[in-house]
């Protein structure tokens, strides 16, 4: 029987849900929860306005079809499934594609300064994996603008009172309480294994504290920092995902790591140059003569090799990212035809990304944000000189496994508590931290969409879950929370004290560099089983060495060293999930490419990788499992639900191949229902 009130617990406390992470997915979840009258505690590593979503540049996909090209949600669904090499369960993708136009209109109403057509309508540009103009954009800082819009709406709820069933304000209680500069440590699980809150640490005072929550939503983003330098923000270590994985949450498709084809090399970070540069006409090339020393502007057209246009005439510079990255890698690494540097006397790992044929005013109105980054960090004017770029780790398609429930139309069932539920009851995940929407390769401008759509689904889903609870987390004995808090406190003390007297203790930052260098070298674009075996051996070595780490800082204030040691320990655990998953999967699909197994193998591998933590240093891969959601036991298998778009081989050499079924260019074979869960 459900509890009497969803606003107050039996003991009279305001019942809250905890959302961890204040990027697009977290903030959208918060807004939807508030609209469902569920008060929220919002915990974030950084002020939410500084979350990694700000780095998204190019735009957000929605098949609004303002250009009269005949675009539709059905085509968006098909191209997303096809671009993802048929690893995504399709019902959530359908839900997302159908909701996309409404989402962009909502953002428009929130005041996002989207670029406009002369008629005053939203402008759309092209992105990878499609021939349609489907990407709405605000200059080239779309993620920033979207994040700000949601941040502003959440701020309204920070000053809104919690109102009880009778419409009376509860004194001193606001709909949203923000805890910024707090690090998520662990979920709190009750005796039945249900998540009833979490433990977090204030990164200024280092105080460790428990948060009760009828549910906890992780919206903590990706894990690119495992690869050392990537396009990701320094906060994207995957620590929260790793922590709940170690508490029993299933992690899915970890081996699928997106490498973005165009980034600026840097000492601290590889800065992204958005796909929108190519969407607005940018071309990727290298000189035909590998030893050509001329200034690129002096190299005539016929002496340039436009590699993507030559290899993939159908989609050209706008092939999906996995394909573009492999083409650039092949050119630079295997053919040694990267741009020649007369100073070093060798071909560097760089290709040209050229926008110099476009009008400067046009570029300023559509791409200023990214061209400014290039100008500031590379020190060259990209309006008049081709940029020099190379692929970089960018996005994690894999993440915490989350459930979905589909409706009769094959889309997501609105309000089902199963949507976005992890395998730990009461724990939800949304945004890059989960695995749901992108399969084996994410299409550009689908990430902002999946974050916001995910939030729009997760809010109602968590509200339904809360309604189903017989007892609120706020009515549980305090001892459950205090015990978990004490465990985290003891672990923190361990980090501060261990190896302080050890003269040969390890430095955590140096250890991280070793981890990152190896993961970047061996577990990205091309994967080889013998090398991956060595990686796993090295990870075991690092697992031992991390025990010898001494925290470089003993302070009780803003102790970033201790925080980093914790994140490093958690990164090592996820690194193994990624590397072991890559080793197991003997095929090539999307971002996962093994030259020894160059083909996709649907018979053996069209399935979700499901990783379960055994102990430090050991991962168990499951084919099926059971979990409980809102009192219902649910059986899950690793089969992919491809009930909406029948799998076929990707052929980006041919224009229109990615949308051929929806546009009637090929006969869609009878959909083969592969039930994911019964």
């Amino acid at each position: 029987m459900a509890a009497k009130s969803t606003i107050r617990s039996e003991g009279g406390k305001v019942r809250r849900v905890v959302v961890v992470g204040g990027g697009l997915a977290g903030l959208m979840t918060v807004i939807k929860l508030c609209e469902a009258k569920v008060p929220v505690d919002l915990i974030s590593l950084v002020p939410v306005k500084r979350s990694h979503s700000v780095c998204a540049q190019g735009g957000i996909n929605a098949s609004v079809n303002t250009k009269g090209e005949g675009d539709s949600p059905q085509i968006h669904l098909e191209e997303t499934a096809y671009g993802g090499d048929f690893l995504a369960n399709q019902p959530p993708v359908k839900g997302m594609a159908e909701a996309a136009p409404g989402i962009v209109f909502m953002l428009d109403r929130m005041g996002v300064p989207f670029n406009r057509t002369p008629e005053g309508l939203l402008d759309f540009r092209r992105f990878g994996g499609t021939l349609f103009h489907r990407t709405a954009f605000a200059g080239a800082t779309t993620g920033q603008q979207l994040l700000y819009a949601l941040d502003e709406q959440v701020r309204r709820y920070e000053i809104a009172d919690v109102v009880d069933e009778h419409g009376v304000s509860i004194p001193g209680e606001k709909m949203v309480r923000k805890f910024e500069f707090w690090d998520f440590l662990q979920a709190v699980l009750d005796d039945s294994g249900t998540c009833v809150g979490c433990i977090a640490q204030d990164l200024k005072t280092m105080q460790i504290k428990y948060f009760q929550g009828d549910a906890v939503v992780l919206a903590t983003g990706g894990c690119g920092i495992i690869f050392g330098r990537s396009t990701m923000s320094v906060i994207c270590t995957g620590t929260a995902a790793s922590s709940v994985y170690q508490q029993g949450a299933v992690y899915a498709n970890g081996e699928f790591i997106q490498v973005h084809p165009t980034a600026i090399p840097g000492a601290d970070k590889l800065r992204l140059i958005s796909e929108s540069a190519r969407g607005e006409g940018g071309r990727v090339w290298v000189p035909k003569d590998a030893k050509d020393q001329r200034n690129p502007k002096e190299i005539p057209e016929k002496e340039r090799d436009y590699i993507l246009e030559r290899m993939y005439p159908g989609y050209g510079n706008l092939v999906p990212r996995d394909i573009a990255s492999r083409a650039i890698f092949k050119t630079c690494f295997h053919e040694k035809r990267g741009v020649f540097n007369p100073k070093t006397g060798r071909n560097e790992n760089e290709v040209y990304l050229d926008l110099t044929h476009k009008d400067e005013k046009f570029l300023r109105s559509k791409l200023a944000g990214i061209l400014e980054i290039y100008e500031k960090f590379a020190g060259t004017d990209p309006y008049h000189n081709p940029m020099k770029v190379f692929p970089a780790v960018h996005y994690s398609m894999g993440g915490l496994w989350v459930d979905f429930e589909k409706d009769a139309r094959g889309s997501l069932k609105a309000g089902s508590p199963r949507n976005h539920a992890t395998s730990i009851p009461g724990l939800y995940a949304v945004g890059e931290v989960e695995y749901q929407y992108h399969g084996a390769n994410r299409l550009g401008a689908n990430s902002l969409l999946s974050c916001i759509y995910g939030g729009m689904v997760t809010g109602p889903s968590v509200a339904s879950y809360q309604k189903s609870l017989a007892k609120s987390a706020f009515d549980l004995p305090k001892s459950i929370f205090e015990k978990a808090e004490k465990r985290c406190q003891d672990d923190y003390t361990r980090i501060l004290k261990q190896n302080q007297e050890n003269k040969s203790a390890e430095n955590p930052y140096k250890l991280h560099q070793e981890l990152g260098d190896m993961m970047l070298r061996d577990v990205t674009i091309e994967r080889d089983n013998a090398t991956l075996e060595q990686v796993l051996g090295k990870l075991s070595e690092l697992d031992e060495r991390v025990k010898k780490v001494a925290c470089p800082d003993g302070s009780q204030r803003a102790n970033q060293g201790a925080q980093f040691v914790r994140h490093l320990e958690n990164m090592l655990v996820l690194a193994r999930v990624i590397a072991q998953g890559a080793k197991n999967r003997d095929e090539s699909r999307g971002a996962h490419y093994k030259p020894a197994f160059p083909k996709r193998n649907d018979a053996d591998w069209m399935r979700t990788t499901l990783a379960k933590h055994e102990q430090k240093g050991a991962v168990k891969y499951l084919r099926e499992f059971d979990y409980t959601c809102a009192g219902q036991s649910i059986h899950v298998t690793d089969a992919v639900d491809a009930s909406l778009v029948a799998p076929r081989e990707r052929k980006y050499e041919q224009a229109g191949a990615a949308s051929a079924a929806a546009t009637g260019k090929i006969q869609q074979p009878a959909a083969s229902e592969q039930q994911k869960s019964v």
Binding site: V46, K49, D108, N115, S555
Partner: protein, 262 residues
């Protein structure tokens, strides 16, 4: 995928001088510490500080705790890593060593001075976020359910609004502003710019007066001393002085004629 060339050193050293303090209540720990770290290609102040983390030892050979600072995106779009570098407030990520110390000059790094210190280079900018609530920096939408597209807008209007919307709440403008300190209530240039931004939007304009009234009293637009330092230091080149002038004009109009409309 190895592109590790950028991590190789060249023998050249970068000289950092960092102002440190262990906590807000520990003024006696205020000190300068100097570090020399290996130079890396495309190095910025963040990567220099990251080198200190790996070898936290001062030039005098003293082992110390690594310097702490705030950072996130490292591409000057999140606003986290604002600090005072060689006397100028800016983001540490876009402070390139080759530009600020081309001949090995010492780079001085200090925390911002207008906010409560947390530790070393970290300060607490919460006041800025609170002031965004005060000036109602949002559009009052009815809800996130489907209500169709927003109002139409000309490309020219969008091009005017977009640059104002790129404010990262980084704090440069208020650090440079002589009127902004802990003894005044002044909301600062960034907040006034937000008033202008939301008042420009067709739906935002429906609440224009309510927003203007938040900056018509103490701490509002009349506290601006017109020093124009803000626009000089804004990393996103937001026309802050124009924004303040616009809000000031609108506020004056409201003050003079508002009573007629009541």
């Amino acid at each position: 995928m190895a592109n590790s060339d950028t991590t190789k050193g060249t023998g050249r050293l970068v000289h950092l001088r960092v102002k440190r303090q262990d906590g807000p209540d520990l003024p006696e720990t205020k000190r300068w510490e100097e570090f020399k770290v290996p130079y890396l290609p495309q190095m910025n102040v963040i990567s220099a500080l990251q080198q200190v983390q790996k070898e936290p030892r001062t030039v005098d050979g003293k082992d110390v705790a690594p310097v702490v600072w705030e950072s996130s995106c490292l591409e000057e779009v999140c606003g986290a890593c604002t600090m005072v570098i060689n006397g100028r407030v800016r983001q540490a990520c876009s402070a390139l060593v080759d530009q600020i110390a081309p001949n090995g000059e010492t780079i001085t790094v200090e925390p911002m001075t207008k906010f409560p210190l947390v530790r070393d280079l970290i300060v607490d900018r919460e006041r800025m976020f609170q002031d965004m609530k005060k000036v109602k920096a949002w559009i009052d939408i009815d809800g996130t359910h489907e209500l169709g597209p927003g109002p139409r807008e000309s490309p020219e209007a969008q091009q005017e609004r977009y640059p104002l919307s790129r404010c990262m709440t980084c704090g440069c403008c208020v650090e440079a502003c002589p009127q902004y300190n802990d003894s005044t209530q002044f909301v600062g240039p960034f907040a006034l710019n937000l008033v202008r931004l939301f008042n420009m939007h067709p739906s935002g304009a429906l609440h224009k007066n309510a927003r203007l009234e938040t900056v018509m009293g103490e701490g509002g637009v009349q506290d601006c001393g017109k020093a124009q330092n803000c626009v000089e230091v804004c990393p996103k080149e937001i026309p802050l002085v124009d924004s303040i002038a616009q809000v000031s004009r609108d506020a004056t109009k409201r003050l003079l004629f508002g009573w007629l409309l009541k």
